[in-house]
Structure formats: C-alpha cells, structure tokens
C-alpha cells in the first residue's frame, strides 16, 4: 500500500514542531473567524494569506496553516448559527434550522457538542476519501494533454455556479470577466503588453492575492456598513459543550449520511460546502423526520448539515490538488497561494512536491483532532468572541490585509489596487454577481490560455484538436449537461418567485 507510505511521510512533515504549531494556531484563528457572523471561510483564508507571506513560510508550512484555517472556519461557522441564529458563514446556514431551537430549549451545550462531533466525523471521513481518491484521479489526469486541460477548464468555468448558484448568465459573465482580467500584463509567449495602458505596475498583471483580499475582505467592510447593527447581547453563556453518549449514538446515522452526501457535493466542480450541507439536511429530513420534529430542535437536524459541510470541505480539495481546478471559493483562494509560491497544482504536484501534498493531507487529520479537542472544552471562549464589537475587529482585519498585501511587493500601488477590487467586490455582491468565478478566471486564465495555445501549436493551428479525443468530447458533454441542469434550475426558481 504505497498510500500509507506517502501518508507516513506526510505525518513526518506535519508533525515537526513548527508545522504542528501552525496547525494549532490555524485551527484557533479559523474557528474564531468562522464564528464571526459574516466572515466565512473565504474571508478567513484570504485574510490569513498575507500572514503566510509575511511569515516567509515554505510552501508546505503555508499550506498547512491555510488548510487548518479552512477546516477551522468550517467548525466555527456553526457556533453563531446555534447561539445567535445568524450563520457564521454560508455553509452553516442549515445548522440554524435546528441548532438555534435547541439552544432556545436550553440545550445549547448539547447542540454545540453534537455539531462538533458531526463536524469531526464529516471532516475525517472526507479526509480519508481525499487520501484514497486524489491519487486515483492523478493517475487519470497524468494522461491529459493541452487539449484535455483546456476542456477541463471550460468545464470548471461553465459549472462553477453549480445548481444552487445565482443567475447562470451572471456566473458565466463573471467567469469571462475574470479570465479577461487574467490576460492583463505581458503575454508570456510573445512579450506583448496587453491592456496595461503603459502602466509599469501592470506589466506583471494583477496579483491574485491582491485581488482576492480586496474582493473578499475589503468588500465585507463595505457590506457591513450598510446595516445598523444592534450589539447582540442575548448570548447564552456556555462553558463547555457536552452530550450524553446516547445522544451521539442517536445521531450517528445522520452524521454518516451527511458525510457521504457532503463529500460527493464537495468533489463536484462549483458545488461546495453550502450545497453539501443543504443536501445533507434535505436528505436527513426525508429519512428521519417521522414525527415532524425537524426545525424544532432535532439533534439529527444539527448533525447532518454539519457533517455535510465539513465533508464537502475535504471533498473540494480533491480536484484542487489533483487537477489544479478548485471546486469551491475557498480552495480557489488556497490555489492562489500555491501559484503565488510558484507551485503548480495538478498531477505533477504529487510526484514533484510530495512534501506539500502529503504534508497537507496529514495536517488535515491532525487539524481535525485538534479542532475536536479545542471545540469541546473551549467553546465558551469562542462564544464569548461573538460579543466582540465589530468596530474593534474590522479595522484590524483591514490593517492586517494592508500589511500583508504591502509585504508582497512593498508597493502602495498594490494597496490601491486592493481597495479598487474591494469596491468592485462590493458592487458585484450587491448585484448578485458571484466573485468566485472572477477569482478563478484571474487565477487560471494564464494556464487556460497556455494550454489553448499549446494545443493549437501541436496541431499547427487546426482547431479540431480541441475536440479530437474521447476525453475532450466527454468533458464537453459533461459541461453541456451540467449547464442545462443549471439553466433549468434557474428557470424554475424564476418561475417560483
């Protein structure tokens, strides 16, 4: 079993004191960010990317830090769902439905404990799935040529909205716009300056990290200012989460079903954790809701979506690591970090940088254990974080973003570009135009164009090569099928309104 050898090697990387420390720090920071209403996994990872840069971490350590933050935010999102009935992040939305009623019935401690255990089960099962399936996908992907990669990118961009997404036209327009942003700068093949207006700073193009921090973190501040928030005072004080063994046994089935559904949803391109928790809850309700207890504080209604969204988080890492095509917003941000560190994810990553891949996978197992251990006794600390006022917190978020982006090039021009992206991100969010396709476009545009041009150089300009193999044809067929499903779903939503 070569997988076990690789995994053992990964644990050797992840268990060095520095990396272990980073994992613990990442778990705590991620849980806090995830618990804050509004600051979700994408923001959490985006804000902490600059920190990974300023720390000057090597790629394996940087990924371990971000992956721990990622898993941490998924754990943290449930806390404000249960305590305040405000989802800490989008995937935690479904947890409100039964989590908050449980808290109101005086069962907050049980809800927090069951959701922590469900998160652990979901995340661990999907990490096992990642360990088993990612190397298998790599074995297929190794046969991909430029034309196949081009088709794969088309598939990723066409389906990024998924079935739950906003208006498909907006999603696809955003993807084209993001790809267009990615062409700004010197063309790497011919050296032609494209769309730079002669501005020297733009010759390298838009730095993805600068764009991401602006789009997600800065726009969040503008969104927040729209509402006049009353300080939430009604936080029930909880010191530690506990649940009886019988409670856990009663929800075990829900956890397993939720994990499975969430994992599948995570692997699919563009679906991600929100769909995972949504489907997990819907299925559990259908299977278990015999007495109409769902929505009124049924523990199984907490266990299923939490297992689902955490399982999806692990599943989404599979296409990101093995194909270089991320399945969700957060994994896109992690991909941005890898590319910025001059590492190209994809099948070759497993051969050339086993430290990064297997260190990361091993650290996910560690992060899960750390998160479970943290979340049971320290949940009181995390709930108290919910009472921190935003006027104290957001300026620090902005300043850390500024310092981090400044550290990339020591350029105040980058800071202005970041603020520009922040305003753009705010406007797009108001218009319901998704940001993730833009980030993905900016990030993968160069590689997509590269494969397009390589394919056509091989064929001497004959475009037939783009759809000349079984793999490309099946990828385009899958694209068409998923697009039709997304359009039908969107039309149905429009009619229901």
């Amino acid at each position: 079993m070569e997988i076990f050898e690789f995994l053992a090697h990964g644990f050797a990387v992840a268990l060095t004191p520095t990396n272990l420390g980073l994992a613990v720090f990442g778990c705590v920071a991620g849980t806090i960010v995830g618990a804050m209403p509004g600051l979700g996994p994408v923001n959490g990872v985006a804000i902490l990317i600059p920190l990974a840069f300023t720390l000057g971490l090597d790629p394996a350590s940087a990924m371990i830090l971000l992956a721990s933050v990622y898993y941490g935010t998924m754990y943290g999102g449930r806390i404000s769902s249960i305590m305040l009935n405000i989802p800490g992040d989008e995937p935690a939305m479904m947890t409100c439905l039964d989590g908050h009623p449980m808290a109101r019935k005086g069962k907050a401690a049980e809800a927090l404990a069951i959701s922590a255990i469900a998160s652990f089960v979901g995340a661990t099962l999907s990490t096992i799935g990642l360990t088993l399936f990612a190397p298998m996908l790599v074995k297929v992907a190794i046969h991909f040529g430029p034309a196949e990669y081009f088709a794969l990118y088309v598939l990723a961009f066409a389906t990024i909205g998924g079935v739950t997404g906003a208006n498909p036209a907006k999603t696809l327009m955003a993807a084209a716009f993001g790809l267009a942003l990615g062409t700004v700068g010197l063309d790497p093949v011919s050296g032609t300056a494209r769309y730079t207006f002669g501005i020297f700073h733009l010759f390298d193009g838009f730095h993805p990290i600068v764009a991401i921090v602006g789009l997600f973190a800065i726009s969040e501040v503008l969104i927040y200012l729209e509402h006049t928030h009353a300080t939430h005072s009604a936080v029930v004080s909880v010191h530690r989460a506990y649940a009886r063994l019988s409670d856990i046994v009663a929800t075990a089935g829900a956890m397993l079903r939720g994990s499975f559904i969430g994992f599948v949803a995570g692997v699919l391109p563009g679906a991600g954790a929100s769909l995972g928790s949504f489907l997990a809850y819907a299925l559990e309700k259908r299977v278990s809701d015999k007495d109409g207890t769902f929505g009124k504080g049924d523990p199984r209604g907490v266990a299923a979506p939490e297992a689902g969204n955490n399982a999806a988080a692990g599943g989404a890492l599979i296409p990101m690591l093995s194909l270089g095509v991320p399945g969700s917003g957060t994994t896109a941000v992690m991909l941005a970090l890898l590319i910025s560190l001059n590492i190209t994810p994809g099948p070759l990553l497993f051969e050339k940088q086993p430290d990064v891949v297997w260190g990361l996978i091993a650290s996910l197992y560690i992060a899960n254990v750390v998160l479970l251990l943290l979340n049971i006794p320290l949940v009181g600390f995390f709930t108290r974080m919910l009472t921190l006022p935003m006027w104290l917190l957001l300026p620090v978020v902005v300043m850390v973003s500024f310092v981090g982006v400044y550290s990339i090039n020591h350029s105040t021009f980058d800071l202005l570009v970041m603020v520009g992206f922040g305003l753009l991100g705010y406007l797009l969010r108001k218009l319901d135009i998704p940001l993730v396709p833009i980030v993905l476009g900016l990030l993968l545009g160069a590689e997509m164009e590269n494969n397009y041009r390589r394919a056509l150089s091989i064929s001497g300009g004959d475009t037939g090569i783009l759809y000349g193999s079984t793999i490309t044809v099946s990828l385009y067929a899958a694209t068409a099928l998923l697009l039709v499903i997304a359009i039908v779903a969107a039309l149905r939503r429009r009619r229901n309104r």
């Binding site: 300023t54 720390l55 000057g56 208006n167 036209a169 907006k170 696809l172 327009m173 084209a176 716009f177 790809l179 267009a180 062409t183 063309d187 093949v189 011919s190 050296g191 032609t192 494209r194 769309y195 800065i218 501040v221 503008l222 927040y224 200012l225 729209e226 509402h227 006049t228 928030h229 935003m390 006027w391 104290l392 957001l394 300026p395 620090v396 902005v398 300043m399 850390v400 500024f402 310092v403 400044y406 550290s407 020591h410 105040t412 800071l415 202005l416 603020v419 305003l423 108001k430 218009l431 319901d432 135009i433 997509m448 164009e449 397009y452 041009r453 056509l456 150089s457 001497g460 300009g461």
Partner: protein, 142 residues
C-alpha cells in the same frame, strides 16, 4: 435597472476588449498569438452581458442616507491610508486609519483612540520587529 446598466458596461467592455486584441503584435513562429484568447473571451462576455440587458434580475437595495455616507467615508479612509503610509510612516498612518475606521463603524471615541494606539504599535512590533518585514517607521518629508 442596475442589471441593465451593468450589462451595458460589460458589453461595452467586451467590445473594447476584443477590438484592442486586434492590435497585438504576433509573435514569431507562434501560430496562435497573443490576440486569439482575448478574442475568444470577448464573445461570451459580450453575449452574457446582452442577456443581462434583456432579462435583468430584480433591483437590489442600494444604501442611502447615513449608511451611504459611512461607506463613502470608509472608501476615503481606505484610499487615504495607502497615500499617507509612506509619507507618515506605519505607526502614525495606522493609528489615523484605525481611528477613522473605528469611528465610521460606530465605535465610541475613547475606545477608537485606545484601539488605534494599541493596534498601530502592536502591529508594528509584530510585523516589523518580530516578523522582520520592513515597514516605513518614521515620517519622511521628501
């Protein structure tokens, strides 16, 4: 209306984007060249933008009144900070930035002042001294 305006803007951008691509110089011995991919992108970008003009979504709720003023104030602070960072040095610029933002976010005056001093010094020590990132420290009058 907002969707129609956005569609119009993006459609115009797509036309300009595709038209600009025409002028790129072809590389030597490169069958595809730097203009093919942008032209390929301009088509879907323009078409989806047109669709948005024809079938817009319901109008979002844009902020008005005080929230809008606070957002404009925040944008001023966000644009101002990069402009004063190098002339004033990190600690001073950050203190000013944090005060402005904390007040805009509805914090009390005393709290804003205390957090400004604490965060500007704290972040400076953490990033410059501990992490070894060189930040401009003192005001420089060039």
């Amino acid at each position: 209306m907002s969707d129609r305006l956005t569609g119009l803007l993006i459609a115009a951008l797509a036309v300009w984007y595709g038209w600009m691509a025409d002028n790129f110089e072809e590389g030597f011995g490169d069958p595809v060249g730097p203009s093919a991919f942008p032209k390929l992108l301009a088509v879907p970008m323009g078409l989806f933008a047109l669709y948005l003009i024809v079938r817009p979504d319901p109008e979002p709720r844009w902020p008005t009144g005080r929230p809008l003023l606070r957002q404009i104030g925040m944008m001023a602070a966000l644009v101002g900070y990069p402009l004063i960072l190098e002339p004033l040095g990190f600690p001073l610029a950050t203190a000013l930035g944090v005060i402005a933002m904390a007040l805009l976010l509805g914090g009390p005056r005393q709290g804003a002042a205390i957090s400004a001093v604490a965060f500007s010094l704290g972040l400076f020590v953490m990033f410059d001294q501990v992490l070894g990132l060189h930040l401009p420290m003192l005001p420089s009058f060039k």
